[in-house]
């Protein structure tokens, strides 16, 4: 009998939980369950050992500046392990603060720089005015291909993020990474970084399944995930598109 368990490390839920990240966990758990898999969630608290050897997937949520600073410091000793995991293709979902934390630094308006994990060549600078509101993007695959699928949610960030990786998608309505280049988020190997919460996964079941499939592949059990009844999720998704006036076929 095979072990049908996939393990998600939820990093620092006590600090990085600003935008209802347990919503993302809950979606991954139910969708894994529906395919006969058990999602084993390991909450990793600040100051405890992180053993990535038994982990198939990582969730890094958002927190306040102060909390991010704490987390950044705590993670620094494990930087090498994380870097190796990223290169090996481990799926990592990093939302808002977690997304910023993957990069080199987050520069406050005072000029002070909160150091990041320096896992990716990403920098973030705070600027006047927060970028707040509903957002819709067109999901563009890492190779630049798009089949027109959208991702929707809510964004609320003072940081403007810049990088040269593939974005998660093209902004249709909203601000995205920096409100300037019409790009939102980041994709690199298994990493998905994004400012979109709401939470992210409930209204974007295709993205949830994409992450889940990656986790199974990373675990060495690749599997084509069967379709679920997502009528409600898609209605909620399209309702946000409607609110934003985004027309899709």
């Amino acid at each position: 009998m095979t072990d049908k368990t996939v393990t998600l490390a939820h990093l620092f839920p006590e600090l990085l939980n600003l935008y209802a990240d347990q919503g993302n966990v809950s979606v991954l758990r139910r969708r894994a369950q529906a395919r006969g898999w058990t999602l084993n969630v390991t909450p990793v608290k600040l100051g405890t050992q992180v053993d990535l050897g038994s982990v198939d997937m990582i969730l890094l949520g958002g927190g306040s500046d102060r909390e991010q600073q704490l987390v950044g410091r705590a993670l620094a000793p494990y930087r090498a392990d994380f870097a190796a995991a990223i290169e090996a293709g481990m799926p990592i979902l990093a939302v808002c603060g977690g997304y910023q934390l993957l990069g080199r630094y987050y520069e406050l308006q005072s000029g002070e720089r909160i150091p990041g994990l320096e896992l990716l060549e990403v920098i973030t600078r705070a600027d006047k005015g927060r970028l707040i509101g509903n957002i819709a993007i067109e999901w563009v695959a890492a190779d630049g291909e798009s089949d027109g699928r959208t991702i929707v949610g809510f964004e609320n960030h003072a940081g403007r993020t810049f990088h040269d990786y593939a974005p998660l998608g093209r902004v249709l309505k909203g601000f995205g990474n920096n409100g300037r280049d019409h790009q939102e988020g980041l994709q690199y190997k298994g990493v998905v970084g994004t400012y979109i919460h709401g939470p992210l996964l409930p209204k974007n079941p295709h993205l949830a399944d994409h992450l889940l499939a990656q986790a199974l592949a990373f675990k060495g059990c690749p599997e084509t995930l069967g379709a679920l009844d997502d009528a409600l999720e898609w209605r909620a998704h399209h309702a946000v598109l409607g609110m934003l006036g985004v027309k899709r076929g």
């Binding site: 935008y19 347990q22 809950s26 809510f154 609320n156 939470p199 409600l232 999720e233 909620a236």
Partner: protein
């Protein structure tokens, strides 16, 4: 000299009231504040003119209890006055009296229900002795203000040391009960039947130790917090038999058994449009106080029926079905509303009206921080209806909390949502964010009329 100052204070108080009205502001504590600065004596001069005065104090439930009691007592023949909205310090009391004073400095209304802050009580009773003082409970609250619960208890005790005043307090609260020890003219109310905690929850129990020997109190049953059926193992004290015993089963009715001194017992039911065990205690306290003042059952029942809770505080809109409206605006508040729904063991339907206007919060992430999983698994909810601009977000939230998708219905408009519940035979709970609350309240009032 004191009289002149009091007269001057009165005029100044009026002047401020008139000026505030001219600029379109009412109900502030400013007139009372200014007048009490000019003459600290004025309040007591006015109070001494009252024929009857009830003071309601304690930690929780003061505002609701005094509003219920006011509603039970006042009528055209014998009007009462009250300080609404929790203005319960000295200047607030004066502010409530000022509008009822005539040109000769005499009160036109001779009866008052006054909500009074615990720390303010001794400052009043040093100069004036009310007819009746109600102490709702003594629990941990606002530690920074009173130091500790022992301090609050000492303040109340010093405010109650005058023998002519009747005391009515909570038999189920060991701390409040201790105020009546060896005191004449003391009456108790308490719950005799209510949904009870099977096991003590992980709560702070301030009163859980005997005030005489310090031993932990033994509880035969827990009600909530430190409230319950308690006794000291060394026999120092236990719960007194209440003169007014309440029975409640999480509906809108409290049945009260009155035990008069002659040994006669009488039972009567009081219905008020508020829900939850905390409110049942408030209804019981108010009805007991009204009875002690000799009010008839008919007046008490009618007054409780007239009482209108602020919109969204779990009030009942009777009809077929009964609908109950509650405001939810953050996970903590939503969780406490859900706890009250869990206590209602009847089958039920729950509606969510979720908007995302600025006043509601444009980000609806918070829906995922509500502890819905527990609610869905334990509450006997037949189906859910979602409405509002974010109805679908709520629907998805419910689906992932474990609700069968067949049992979730979506309604675009708020009136439609209510229409979908008409004719149901089970109670309907309507949980609403801020901007949906007022339209829903209007609809529900219209439907009740």
């Amino acid at each position: 000299m004191k009289r002149l100052r009091a007269q001057a204070a009165l005029w100044i108080g009026w002047l401020v009231t008139i000026l505030l009205r001219l600029v379109g502001r009412r109900g502030t504590s400013l007139p009372g504040l200014v007048a009490s600065r000019v003459s600290p004596d004025l309040l007591f001069r006015l109070l001494s003119q009252l024929e009857q005065c009830v003071v309601v104090t304690g930690t929780n439930g003061k505002t609701t209890t005094s509003a219920l009691l006011y509603s039970m007592l006042t009528d055209d023949e014998h009007p009462w006055l009250t300080n609404r909205g929790g203005a319960n310090l000295l200047q607030g009391l004066l502010g409530a009296l000022l509008p009822h004073v005539d040109g000769h400095g005499r009160l036109r209304v001779q009866r008052a229900v006054l909500e009074v802050d615990e720390a303010t009580l001794p400052r009043i009773t040093d100069h004036y002795h009310p007819t009746l003082i109600v102490v709702t409970n003594v629990v941990r609250d606002q530690l920074d203000r009173y130091g500790e619960v022992d301090g609050a208890l000492a303040l109340l005790r010093s405010g109650l040391q005058y023998p002519g005043t009747i005391l009515l307090t909570n038999a189920d609260d060991p701390l409040a009960t201790s105020l009546g020890w060896e005191r004449e003219l003391t009456y108790y109310y308490g719950m005799e039947e209510c949904p009870v905690d099977a096991a003590p929850r992980n709560e702070v129990r301030d009163g859980a130790f005997c005030l005489i020997c310090g031993q932990e109190l033994h509880y035969e049953r827990y009600i909530y917090g430190q409230l319950g059926y308690y006794s000291c193992g060394n026999g120092h004290f236990d719960r007194p038999e209440p003169h007014y015993g309440g029975k409640t089963n999480s509906s809108f009715e409290v049945v009260i058994r009155e035990r008069t001194n002659a040994g006669r017992q009488e039972e009567f039911a009081v219905q008020a449009g508020v829900l939850g065990l905390y409110n049942d205690y408030n209804v019981l306290a108010a009805a007991a106080a009204a009875r002690l003042l000799g009010r008839s059952l008919r007046h008490i029942q009618a007054g409780a029926g007239r009482y209108e809770a602020p919109l969204g505080r779990m009030q009942l809109f009777p009809g077929s079905p009964d609908r109950i409206l509650a405001l939810i605006k953050n996970p903590t508040g939503a969780n406490s509303v859900l706890r009250t729904l869990e206590a209602d063991e009847r089958d039920k339907v729950v509606c969510f009206a979720i908007n995302d206007a600025d006043a509601d919060g444009r980000d609806v992430s918070w829906l995922w921080d509500i502890d819905l999983e527990w609610f869905v698994a334990t509450a006997r909810c037949q189906s859910y209806i979602c409405a509002g601009t974010r109805a679908l977000d709520m629907a998805v939230r419910l689906a992932y909390a474990g609700v069968d998708r067949e049992a979730i219905r979506i309604s675009g408009h708020l009136p439609d949502m209510l229409r979908m519940t008409s004719g149901l035979t089970v109670p309907v709970y309507v949980l609403s964010t801020y901007t949906a609350l007022y339209p829903l309240g209007e609809e529900l009032r219209g439907a009740t009329r």
